[in-house]
Amino acid sequence: MRIVYRFVMMLAAITMFSEANGARAAELSAGPALASYRPKPEQVAKLEIYPSQVRLRGWHDAAQLIVTATLTDGRLQDLTGDVTYTVSQANVVRVSPSGMVTPLNDGAVEITASFGPHQARVQVLAEKVHENLPINFGNQIVPIFTKYGCNSGGCHGKISGQNGFRLSLLGSDPELDYMTLVKESRGRRLFLAAPEKSLLLLKGTGQLPHGGGKRLEVGSDEYNMILRWIVAGTPYGDPKDPVVVRISVYPERRVTTRYNRQQLAVYAHYSDGTVEDVTRRAQYETNDVEMASVDFTGLVTTMGQAGEAAIMIRYQGHVTVFRATVPLGLPVPNYTFEPKTIVDHYTLAKWRQLGLMPSEPASDEVFIRRAYLDITGTLPSVEAVRAFLADKDPKKRDKLIDRLVDSEEYAYYFALKWADILKVKRRNIPQRAQGTFAFHSWIKDSLAQDKPYSQFVREILCAVGDDRQSPPVFWYTEIQTPEQFVDDVAQVFLGTRINCAQCHHHPYEKYSQDDYWGMAAFYARVGRKNVVSLGTPVQNQNQARLAIFNRPTGTVTNKRTNQPAVMKPLDGNPVICGPSEDPRAKLVDWMTDPKNPFFARAVVNRYWAHFFGRGIVDPLDDMRETNPPTNPELLDALARDFIEHGFSLKHLVRTICKSRTYQLSAVPNDFNKHDKQSYARYYPKRMSAEVLFDAVSVVTGSPSTFPGMPSDRHGASRAIMLPDEAFQSYFLDVFGRPQRLSACECERVNEANLAQVLHLLNSQEIHDKLSRPGGRADRLANDPRPDAEKIEELFLLALGRRPTPEQLQLALQTIERRGPQNKKQAYEDIIWAIINTKEFLFIQ
C-alpha cells in the first residue's frame, strides 16, 4: 500500500508538473526560457564523475555514477542522464543511460562520460563476477522485500500478515522473516529441489495468483539474488557478518533551478568499514510534491516553485535526506529590507538565496486587524482602529504589540491553543468540570504572568496531588498509560511524533522501539489513585478525584524485549533515578536543558506556525531528520533567542510580531506569488471557529451566552474563553473546533466547507443575531447620525477599513430603497453581507 500510495503521489506530482509547466511558463514569460535545464556545451567549464573510482564485487553489485558539470557561472549542474557513456572494454561492464554501472566479467576498464567536447573518466574494477559470494539474508534479501513493498504496512508487513504470510514491517526483524520464510508452514514457501518453483518466487513474479500482483520480473537482479539464495541452501549468514550502521547520499545538498533534475547515489556503510552502493535498493519519498518529485531510481525532478525541497531516503531502517535549494531564477530588482528583529536577518538571507522579493509592508489598517486577531483573537474596536490610524508615532506598531501581549485576551486566546493540545476535556462527565475549569484557568494565568515556558512544562509533567491543589494534575486524566505519556510529551513538547516506534522501528525516523520505551520508562513510577473529597460519603464514587503521586519503584515493560525499559531520553544517555526522586523531573531536566535539541525549537516552531500559518518545520509537530526546516538558521536563531530570554513566550511573540517579515502585506508580487514556505509575504488564514464566533457576535452586537459561564463584562460569553470542549455549539463545530481527541493542532480544521458557508449565509442562529432587538442593526437604525457615518463605522469594525465610495453608495441605496420604516432590515442586510465576505472571514 505504501508503495502504491507513493506511486500515486508521484503521479500526482507528474500531473502537476505538466500542468504547471504550461501554465506557469506562460505566466513567467518575462523570465528566462524554462524549456531545458541542459546547458550548452560552451557554458560548461568542467565535467566530473563521482565516485572517483568504482569497484564492483560479485555479479549483483552495481554503482550509480553521478556526473556533475561546473558551469562557467560557477553553478553545479547534474548531467548524469545527459552525457554519453563509453566503456573501454565493452565485455567487462555495462553502463545504462542513467549512469548505472553493472559488471559482466572480471576486469579493469575506464568509463568516459562525454558532453560535447567535455569528457570525464572513471576507473572501474570488476572482480569475482563469476564467483558465488556468501549471501547474508538480512543485508541482501530483506531489502528486496522492502523495496518492492512486500513487507509494507499494507501487505505482509502488517501485524496480522497477509493471507497467512507475515514479514516484519519494513524488514525491521530479519530473524523473524527468516523463520517465516524458511521454517513456517512446513517450509512450503521455498522449494530447494527446484528453486525457481518456490512459492515465494512464483507468487512474487505473478506466475501464481498473488493478491499483491506481480512485484518482481523473472530474471531481474533481485529475482536472481533470491534464486541464488535458495540455491545456496537459504543461508542466514554469519552472525559476525557486518551490518549497516548508517546510510549516506551523494550529493547531500544542491542549489539547482526549477524544472531541473538531479540523480542521487545512496551508500550503505557497514560495521566493518565497507561501503556498498544501494541506490537501486533504497526507497525515496518527497516531502512536498509541489517542490520536487523523485522516482524509484533516485532521480529527483524539481517543480515550478522556488523554495527548499527535501527527499527522504530509507534503507534497512536507516534514513537520510537530500536537500535542494531551488531559486526562482528570475532577475530580481534591487530592493532593500532593513532587518528589525532577528527574524528578518534570516528570512532576508533566504529570499536573497531563492531570488524572491518580499511584498510591500502591510498598511496600518491591515496591520492592526491582523495583530489584534493573531495575538488576542479579538477584533479591534472602532476607537482602537481610529486612534491607531491617526497616531503619528513611528513606534506605534511596536507599542501596539506590547499592549496586546499584556492584554487579558492574549492569555485567553493562547490558553485556548494550549488547552486543545493538552486535551482539557470534560467528556460529558459533569464531575470533571471542576478539573477542566481549574486547569484552563491555571494555563491562562501562567500565560498572563509569562511564566517561563520551561517552568510551565515542568509543573504539568511533574504534577502531584489532586487537581484542586495542583490544577495541572488534570493533564493526567487524559494521560493514563506510559504510551499516552510518550506520545503526548513527544508531540506536544518535543515536536516529534514517535508513536510508530511503539510497535516497530519508526519508518521515517531513526527511532527504534527501545528509544520509545526508554521514554515511556519515565512514566514508570507515576502513582494514580482516586481520592474522595472531604465531607462527601466514601461510597459516592462520582465525587472521587484523581490524585497523582510518585511511587518509589515501578517499571514499564519494553514491548520488544519484554524486559523493564531503561529510562533514556531521545538521543540521550540512560538516566539513573533514586527511590526518592521523581523520574519525570529528570526527564524535564533533560528537556529544559538549553542544549536540548527539541524543546525550544518545538515551541518556537509552534508559535511561528500560529502567526504565519505554516511552521518552519511543517507539519509543526513533525520535526525529524528527514523533514528538515525550510529555514534552519531562522529556527535555530529563534530558539536560541527564546532560551536566552528565559523561555519567555511573550518575548517570543514580540520577536515574531515586531519583525518586518510579519508585517509584510499579503498581496503578492511577481516573485513571491507562489511562495508558501519562505514567508516573503503574509499568508492569509481563515479565522478559527472561536475567533470567528466572537467576531460575528461583536459585529452583530449580539453576544451569546454559554450555559454555566458567567456573562459579566470580563468572563463574558466569548468563545475564546471557554475552558473545555463541552459547550455545545453548532457554529463552533461546523467551523472546525477540535474535540480535543489528539495532541495535534491539525485536529483544528480551517478548511472551507459547504456547511460552514450555509450556516453563515442562511442559519436561524445568524438571522437571530442580526435581527435581535438591541443588536447592532436595531441600534444603528435608531441612531440619529447620518447613515454614511454609521456605515463607515461598520466597515471599520468588521474589516478594519473604510468602505470604498461604490460600497458606501450601494449600502446607502439599500437603506433608501427600503424606506425609513424598514431601516433596521436594511442594516441587517448590510451586516449580513459584511460578515459573509471573505475579507471578514480572513485575517490578511
Binding site: V289, V667, H674, C744, E751
Partner: protein, 428 residues
C-alpha cells in the same frame, strides 16, 4: 427490555443511546493534494472519475436474532428453533423466515451472509467502522459514511455526502477524519439551514447577494492555500442548494405519489434514504426497530419483522426498477446474533459468536448464501468471517481500497481496515 418504535433506544444495560449531539456538517473534503492524488490514482487504474457508488446502511439496534430472521434451524430441538417457520424463496435451496414474504420473492436480488463473528457490545461501532467501540473509543476510526464523505466531498458535489437518519452515535463519528465529516442529520440546525429564515424573502436574499458581491474586495490570489477560492465555490453551491431546495425536497415526502407512499407506509425512512441517494448523497444510514429481545422475543419479532420486510424489500425492488442496483449498495445488520437457546422469558440473549447480514446491490453477486452456522446456530460452520471483512468487501464493491490510508492525529498512516480480506464470493 422491550423497545418502542421511534423512541430513543434503550438496551438491556439501561443506558439510553440518545443522539448525544445533533450536528450536521458536510463538505470539507479533500485538500487539493488529496484530490490530485485520487484523480491520478483513478487515471492509472483506467477509471475516469472518482468512486461514485453510494451505500445505504441499515442498522438493527440491539442485535436481531439470526435464528429467527435469515438463518432458521427447523431441525434443531424446540428450545432452539423457536416458533417461526422457514419459507422458500425464489432462489431454490435458500429459505428465510416466514415473516419475510416480500424478500422471499426477491432473493435473487439479495445475498445473505450467515457466518459473521461479532463482539458482545451494544454499539454500532463495529458494523459502521470495522472496530469495536472499546478500540475505536481510543483510536477514533472513522465511520464508513465519513470515509465516503471524505472521498466524495468536492465542490462539485453540493449535497451532503453522508446523511444519518438515526442521529449521531459512536458508529457515525468521523474520528480522525475530522468533524467536517460528521453526517448531516436532517433535523436541528443542519435542516433549518436548507430553508430561508422566515423573515427573509427571496427578494431580500437577492439584495443581500448583491451587497455581498460588492463588499468582498479580498483578492483571491493572496491566498495560495485555496481556502478562499473554495469558499467562493461553496458559497455559490450553498446558495444554489438553498434556492433549488433539492435536498430539502428529497426529505419532503409529501410530493411523492400516493402509491409509492403507500408501499412505504410505516417505514418511510427507507423511501427517504432512496430519495437522498437519488439527489447525490453518498451514504445514508438508518435504523429500524429494537432487537434487544431478552424477553418475549417472538412477540416483538412478529411485530417488527413485517416492517423490516416491507422497508428493505421495497427499497431493493425500487433500486432495481430505477436501474440503481449496480451503483447503490445496501447492507442490513445488527451488532450481534442472539442466543440459540431460548431463555426462560421466551427471549434470546446476546450472542456474538455468529450473526447474519443481508447485502444487496452495488454490482455484487446476488442470489446466494455465504457461509453457514452449526446445526443449532451456535457457531460459524463454513466460511467464518468478521464484520471487518464484510466492510472490506463493501468498500471494495464501492471502488474504495480498504487498505488505503489516512493520517491520524499522531501523523501515522492508518489503513481503513486492518482485517480486510474480502469475501470474493460477493465480488464475483
Amino acid at each position: 427490555m422491550l423497545t418502542i418504535w421511534g423512541a430513543a433506544q434503550r438496551f438491556c444495560d439501561g443506558i439510553t443511546r440518545r443522539n448525544f449531539l445533533k450536528i450536521g456538517a458536510f463538505g470539507a473534503g479533500l485538500t487539493l493534494a488529496d484530490l490530485l492524488r485520487l484523480r491520478a490514482a483513478a487515471k492509472s487504474a483506467g477509471k475516469t472519475s472518482l468512486p461514485n457508488k453510494a451505500a445505504i446502511m441499515i442498522y438493527l439496534p440491539g442485535g436481531p436474532s439470526h435464528m429467527d430472521t435469515y438463518d432458521l434451524k427447523p431441525n434443531a430441538p424446540a428450545e432452539f428453533r423457536g416458533e417461526f417457520k422457514p419459507i422458500k424463496t425464489n432462489v431454490p435451496g435458500i429459505e428465510i423466515c416466514e415473516y419475510f414474504p416480500l424478500q422471499a420473492k426477491l432473493m435473487d436480488k439479495m445475498a445473505i451472509i450467515r457466518s459473521i463473528v461479532s463482539v458482545d457490545e451494544h454499539s454500532d461501532s463495529l458494523v459502521m467502522t470495522g472496530y469495536p467501540e472499546r478500540i475505536s473509543r481510543v483510536t477514533n476510526h472513522p465511520s464508513f459514511g465519513a470515509v465516503i464523505s471524505k472521498l466524495r466531498s468536492t465542490v462539485d458535489n453540493p449535497v451532503p455526502a453522508f446523511v444519518s437518519l438515526r442521529g449521531m452515535s459512536r458508529g457515525t463519528e468521523p474520528g480522525f477524519l475530522g468533524i467536517a465529516h460528521r453526517p448531516f442529520t436532517p433535523s436541528g440546525p443542519g435542516l433549518q439551514n436548507l430553508r430561508l429564515p422566515g423573515a427573509v424573502s427571496l427578494e431580500r436574499f437577492e439584495d443581500r447577494r448583491a451587497l455581498l458581491h460588492s463588499f468582498d474586495s479580498l483578492r483571491r490570489e493572496i491566498d495560495a492555500s485555496g481556502t478562499a477560492e473554495g469558499m467562493d465555490a461553496f458559497t455559490q453551491k450553498a446558495i444554489d442548494m438553498v434556492l433549488s431546495g433539492n435536498v430539502r425536497r428529497a426529505l419532503d415526502l409529501s410530493t411523492v405519489d400516493p402509491a409509492t407512499r403507500e408501499r412505504y407506509k410505516g417505514v418511510e425512512q427507507f423511501l427517504t434514504a432512496l430519495r437522498l441517494i437519488e439527489v447525490g448523497v453518498g451514504c445514508v444510514t438508518l435504523s429500524i426497530g429494537g432487537w434487544d429481545t431478552h424477553s418475549n422475543n417472538f412477540t416483538t419479532l412478529k411485530r417488527q419483522l413485517p416492517q423490516v420486510d416491507k422497508g428493505v424489500a421495497n427499497l431493493i425492488q425500487d433500486l432495481y426498477d430505477r436501474g440503481l442496483d449496480k451503483d447503490v449498495l445496501v447492507v442490513m445488520w445488527g451488532e450481534f446474533g442472539r442466543t440459540p437457546k431460548i431463555n426462560n422469558s421466551a427471549g434470546r440473549d446476546h450472542w456474538a459468536p455468529v450473526m447474519s447480514a443481508l447485502v444487496a446491490g452495488g454490482g455484487m453477486k446476488m442470489g446466494q448464501v455465504i457461509g453457514s452456522s452449526t446445526e443449532r446456530g451456535e457457531r460459524p460452520k463454513d466460511r467464518p468471517c468478521t464484520v471487518s471483512q464484510v466492510l472490506a468487501t463493501l468498500y471494495t464493491a464501492m471502488g474504495i481500497d480498504p487498505g488505503m490510508t489516512f493520517l491520524n492525529g499522531a501523523g501515522r498512516p492508518v489503513h481503513l481496515l486492518d482485517d480486510r480480506q474480502v469475501l470474493t464470493e460477493l465480488l464475483g
